[in-house]
Symmetry: C2
């Protein structure tokens, strides 16, 4: 599919956020098939691995090989997650286009996830930035703010805390600050309040949102984020995902449901939703015990489905 | 709960739209318990029965008794569905506050559902209006336009057809015209286009929307309808429902998910979502084979949940 006219970027994160939450390890060859299928469907942004010790997350032990495969597609933007400076060294060496370092606003989640306080993680982020500048200045550095809208460990996360971590992440050199509802707490009203308060801090850099569908609010939350000008969203094929250190958090919003909604609103994603639906079979076949989500897959596309921008001009 | 400040009406239709789609018949005593539980949760609008021949829908054979029970609550607005003049006679005699007659925009669905063409059904609607005026002029008459956004039998439903049926329903004397996505075809972009075109025909009377969650779009669709000023929505506890004459159509939007979203946006519904979640047990216990839906029930309310209007002023 032509990628020239894209209004909203949908980044597939199932290969990282999804697979890290599933006990079984997907074989490398199947990860490559998944990348191939999503690329064929038109997906041009994928977070495909994280650089964490294999003893902690064996599901990600093949990060270098998976990234090398993704990089064979010249117009695919490849992202890797790094929990610390050591991971960042490896990620930068791998040649990914973007690295994302998670910074939890909730101290309890931060300790469980990266064994650092939020402030210590911001210091680590500053060191990652220095390394990036010294070694691969072309690599985009993303601060992935997690537990922004609530935390199963801590409970409420005050907006003032989020604001503080956003400002410190910007000061530490983030090119992009992504706001993530790691645990599926966000509601549309809250997303409205938070983006109203936070986006003015840096409208260019606060440009990415990451919603989980734990309580069915991922798509309504996306609607609100769109109204605030957000134009990049993370999603997982078949809605797989969660967080190993956030009890009760179920999957990311399903990529296919998100694309279906965005296209209905006239936003061009460049992605063929029918091909995404077909790609679910890879996960179903390789990981038969994994819980798959997503409403569109239950009913299938409506008969004669066409994206809205093929019917008339964009309305949103 | 106090019902004095309501921004958005949520009408429970599970007792009609939900139960008619489930093969097993819920005993009358359990229907009364369900009404009691939702009333206790703050629900003040319920569609509790339909007046169709018991040989066609034995699930609704106890309509008079269920309605009589609902009417014992003096501030509960009770609605019944009627497919024809004969049903309307019975409904008017029962003392319900509102009767809704379904008018399918899709001719294929109309024939399957009421054995009449849409135009014949509009003539029947006119006769119902005359009967209402002559016998119980205080009863509100709703035209329930079905298959507005698509039809599993017909496929696409042109906006021009919907516009025509809306105008004819108004001419035939509808007090309210409700737009229903009977088969779960609607997308947010389509809802935006349709309401933009239709609401100006009668902003006061086109005031109700009815969404199914077949493809996960019910809540995003509700967000769009809210933007167009719609302030009454149908929903089914646990998302039960569908349509016996619309193959593949799954349930209505879950009442508890809808209330959770509306309250997060600062709209007062008067409904306690925790009590709604508890009321699901009635359906689960009495109809153990029924498919229950709803995302909120999977994860439960967030720890320390409070409706947004208890936190700060409404934002929407």
């Amino acid at each position: 599919m032509a990628n020239s006219q894209i209004d909203v970027v949908v980044q597939e994160v199932g290969l990282r956020d999804g697979l890290q939450s599933i006990a079984a390890t997907m074989p490398t060859a199947d990860k490559k098939c998944w990348i191939d299928a999503e690329y064929a469907a038109g997906v041009r942004h994928m977070e495909v691995a994280s650089f964490v010790p294999a003893r902690l997350l064996p599901q990600m032990a093949d990060a270098d090989e998976v990234i090398a495969h993704a990089l064979t597609y010249s117009d695919l933007t490849v992202t890797a997650l790094v929990p610390n400076l050591k991971g960042a060294e490896k990620a930068l060496a791998s040649g990914v286009h973007r690295i994302v370092a998670p910074i939890s606003v909730s101290a309890a989640h931060s300790m469980a996830n990266v064994r650092k306080t939020p402030m210590d993680m911001i210091e680590e982020f500053r060191r990652i930035r220095e390394l990036r500048d010294a070694t691969r200045p072309g690599t985009v550095l993303i601060a992935g703010l997690s537990t922004v809208f609530g935390c199963t460990l801590q409970g409420d996360v005050p907006l003032a805390d989020v604001r503080d971590v956003v400002l410190r992440s910007l000061q530490a050199g983030a090119d992009i600050v992504a706001l993530a509802d790691t645990t599926g707490h966000a509601t549309p009203g809250q997303v409205d309040r938070f983006f109203s308060a936070l986006r003015p801090l840096s409208p260019e850099k606060l440009s990415v949102a990451h919603f989980h569908d734990t309580r069915g609010m991922a798509l309504p939350n996306t609607m609100v984020a769109l109204q605030h000008g957000i134009r990049e969203f993370d999603a997982s094929l078949a809605g797989i995902g969660g967080c190993p250190h956030a009890p009760g958090a179920t999957g990311n919003v399903a990529t296919e449901d998100l694309v279906f909604m965005l296209e209905s609103l006239g936003y061009r994603t460049g992605i063929d939703v029918a091909q995404l639906l077909a790609a679910r079979e890879i996960i179903r076949t390789v990981l038969p015990d994994a819980s798959l989500y997503g409403a569109l897959a239950r009913a299938g596309l409506p008969k004669g489905y066409r994206p809205a921008h093929q019917i008339e001009k964009a309305v949103a």
